[in-house]
């Protein structure tokens, strides 16, 4: 016979409504009786399993059905999401948390002017931006850069200059083929494809045959690699150490002394211009490429898990029309599950063409858009006073005058377009009347710089009908904003992601091709304006790496008109 009082107390415990006295009473019962402890598990395991069952049952239903049930939930608040994101944020933040906080309060406003279509001809395509990369950042883990100018991420081209690492570790591959691992705190200057300068820090180099002759300068010594692997340790208030693990290196103290040759297993400690032989060398004191890769991969997994757990909260925003996160889908799936649970949530999305590929993290689903026919299509009926778009994409190239993010083809008043220009600027536009002057456009300056091509970025566009304001965002930061010229309801109808297929008769040939080239692994559309703080938080939790939080917006002067 189950004690009814115990059940009442257990339910109050599960619902978070135990008073202090009730809690004492419950604890006493649980300590005293084995049967009570068993009842505890019977009742509380039901709590956890019902949670899972409810999520699975409702998550699997058509959006309309869930939306019907959800009518009870007026205003499932995004405020709750933001507050839990905030809390979650401190848990997950590994490094650079201070930068995050600083940037939350750092918004730049860039007024933009409307452009005529003729202006498009004068836009400089992103691809023509010059680059003088001599190396590439291939891996990174736990990186905190000392200065904003350094905020490159794995996969970035590196130009000559200083890399200043407060903590963490990076792997840099030089164009000569030499590759170095540097552990912070460290200051490394990239000089040429076969030369670098280490002011401080721990460096190990792997130099394959074609790169022999690779040089690392330090204030006390110059190391020239003649073989394969060596380590260089220059920490404050300690003599600099050079250790050879494989092959041989040449060590030169200054021009007056002849260079000294070190073989595998040999090392020298240098102080006051003298090189003392070391008793033994120890490669395990340096971070190995394997260990670096392992740490990086663990970091990425952690972020992926963290994103997963907060991302699903978007589904319960009552204004969510579309939320595609490309998760838990199979490579043959031709439809995308719309996880939005808002009252006006749209149905599922259809995939045309497009290959399933990896997204922001290894294992995360995404779609690759590369052919002129690749697209995702869904129907978004109705009129909206406000709309917010947020997506995560990896832009590979911008081959067309306009490159579609989300376009419609109604040719009606209120139709809303979101796209990227060939020069890397972003545009949100709403049709007012026919003809090219009939568009209310917000155009950013070129924000997709060459350095961002091939990297995952968050893009967002907000039409705030209450304020009458249009805004654009890149990686959580506002990049353009203006007051709308007209106030009018917005319409979408058949929404196409990554492409545009208007009836051929309606479209001028020059503007017909708008296919997007790149990957998309999340798309969200809400029928309410998102605040810049909300977009900022969505960025913080969606960004693929922890170190991305500074200076992606480093103005690239070469591509600015």
């Amino acid at each position: 016979m189950i004690d009814e009082r115990l059940i009442v107390l257990l339910d109050a415990y599960l619902d978070g409504s135990l008073s202090a006295e009730e809690k004492q009473e419950l604890e006493r019962m649980l300590l005293e009786s084995d049967a009570a402890r068993r009842h505890f598990w019977d009742r509380t395991s039901l709590h956890g399993w019902t949670y899972a069952a409810a999520k699975l049952n409702y998550g699997a239903r058509p959006a309309e059905e869930v939306a019907r049930e959800r009518r009870q939930l007026r205003g499932a608040s995004f405020a709750t999401l933001v507050s839990s994101l905030r809390r979650f944020g401190w848990k997950i933040a590994l490094a650079g948390a201070a930068c995050v906080v600083a940037l939350v309060f750092w918004n730049r406003f860039h007024a933009a002017d409307a452009v005529d279509e003729e202006d498009l001809a004068t836009e400089v395509p992103v691809e023509t931006a010059v680059t003088n990369g001599i190396a590439m950042l291939t891996r990174e883990t736990g990186v905190v850069w000392t200065s904003e100018t350094n905020s490159v991420e794995a996969g970035s081209q590196l130009s000559p200059g200083w890399l200043q690492l407060k903590s963490g570790a990076i792997q840099v591959e030089f164009e000569s083929g030499a590759s170095v691992i540097v552990e912070g705190p460290a200051e490394l200057q990239l000089i040429s494809p076969s030369e670098a300068r280490l002011r401080s820090g721990k460096l190990s180099a792997h130099v394959p045959e074609p790169a022999h002759g690779f040089k690392v300068y330090t204030p006390d010594v110059t190391v020239t690699d003649l073989g394969t692997e060596f380590g260089l340790d220059r920490e404050p208030s300690k003599p600099v150490e050079v250790e050879v693990f494989e092959g041989k290196v040449e060590v030169a103290l200054d021009s007056t002394n002849p260079p000294q040759l070190l073989n595998a297993g040999e090392g020298v400690r240098i102080s006051s211009h003298r090189a003392e032989p070391m008793a033994e060398v120890n490669s395990s004191e340096f971070l190995s490429a394997e260990e670096l890769a392992r740490r990086e991969s663990a970091e990425l997994r952690t972020r992926y898990q963290g994103w997963k757990q907060v991302d699903r909260m978007l589904d319960s925003d009552s204004a969510a029309l579309v939320h595609l996160n490309f998760e838990e889908q199979r490579n043959l799936d031709r439809n995308l599950i719309n996880r939005a649970g808002g009252m006006r949530a749209s149905g599922q999305a259809m995939i045309f063409g497009c290959d399933w590929v990896d997204g922001r993290w290894p294992g995360k689903g995404a779609l690759q858009f590369s052919r002129a026919t690749d697209k995702v299509r869904l129907i978004v009926p109705g009129q909206f006073q406000s709309l917010s778009y947020v997506t995560w994409v990896r832009v590979d190239s911008l081959p067309n005058a306009w490159n579609a993010l989300a376009l419609v083809d109604t040719f009606k008043t209120g139709e809303t377009h979101w796209q990227l220009h060939r020069n890397g600027s972003m545009e949100l536009s709403v049709r007012q009347v026919g003809g090219k002057s009939g568009w209310d456009r917000l155009l950013s300056r070129p924000i997709i710089t060459r350095a961002l091509l091939g990297h995952w970025i968050q893009l967002a566009a907000v039409y705030d009908g209450d304020e009458g304001r249009m805004s654009l965002y890149l990686n959580g930061r506002q990049v353009a904003t203006k007051l709308a010229r007209w106030r009018q309801p917005l319409t979408l109808g058949t929404l196409e992601l990554g492409n545009w297929s208007p009836p051929a008769a309606r479209a001028g040939a020059g503007y017909l091709l708008r296919e997007f080239h790149g990957r998309m692994d999340e798309f969200t559309l809400l029928s309410r304006p998102l605040s810049s703080e909300e977009i900022r938080w969505m960025y913080e939790f969606g960004k693929p790496r922890e170190t991305l939080n500074v200076a992606r917006l480093n103005p690239d002067s070469s591509s600015a008109p």
């Binding site: 505890f40 049930e69 294992g363």
Partner: protein, 189 residues
């Protein structure tokens, strides 16, 4: 036709070689047991968001300590122990009004409740949930899918908080009976 069950992209794709094989296997075990683990955590930390945080911490510890796990032994029990330590640690850091004391938690875990968290219960409960009377189902939907507290639900459906608590409690009892019936049937097969 179109019955390819290969998830894409595969869980262990991409940089799989970067983690040790063992760590990978242990992470797979975590993923396999993650629903049961979350349910276990929710028993001791009924708040959904706090439980989610804890689950994430357990994932990190499991990854870090993968090498300490003896393969072939009970992964779920091992992960539950980690979850328990993590919970106690967080309670020591920040005492909360609703959580049970350390002593009670230890006494409860001595019962070895792992059997309660076998996945088979989930399947039965999913069916039970569908069989609930409409009002009870709505309560469960709001509480568990919408993650609303009883007082929030009270506002949404214009009831008194107490009426909501009673309704939730009844719905739970119906689910519990249904679950026990389902388990007995399964055992009889």
């Amino acid at each position: 036709m179109a019955k390819d069950t290969q998830p894409n992209p595969p869980q262990d794709g991409g940089d799989a070689g970067a983690l040790s094989d063992k760590t990978m296997r242990i992470q797979q075990l975590f993923i396999k047991h993650q629903l049961g683990l979350r349910a276990f955590i929710l028993s001791l930390e009924p708040n959904f968001t706090d439980a989610e945080d804890l689950l994430q911490e357990v994932f990190l510890v499991v990854t870090r300590k993968a090498n300490e796990f003896q393969e072939g032994t009970n992964f779920f029990a091992w992960a539950c122990t980690i979850a328990r330590y993590k919970l106690l640690e967080s309670l020591r850091r920040r005492a909360r009004s609703q959580e049970l004391s350390e002593e009670v938690i230890e006494a409860l875990c001595a019962v070895e409740p792992e059997a309660q968290f076998d996945d088979s219960r989930l399947v039965i409960l999913q069916q039970c949930l569908e069989q609930l009377a409409p009002k009870a189902r709505q309560m469960m939907f709001l509480r568990y899918y919408g993650e609303h507290s009883p007082s929030e639900i009270a506002q949404l459906v214009s009831w008194t908080p107490n009426a909501v608590r009673v309704a939730l409690s009844r719905a739970r009892s119906v689910l519990q009976e249904c679950l026990e019936r389902g388990l007995r049937q399964e055992g009889a097969k």
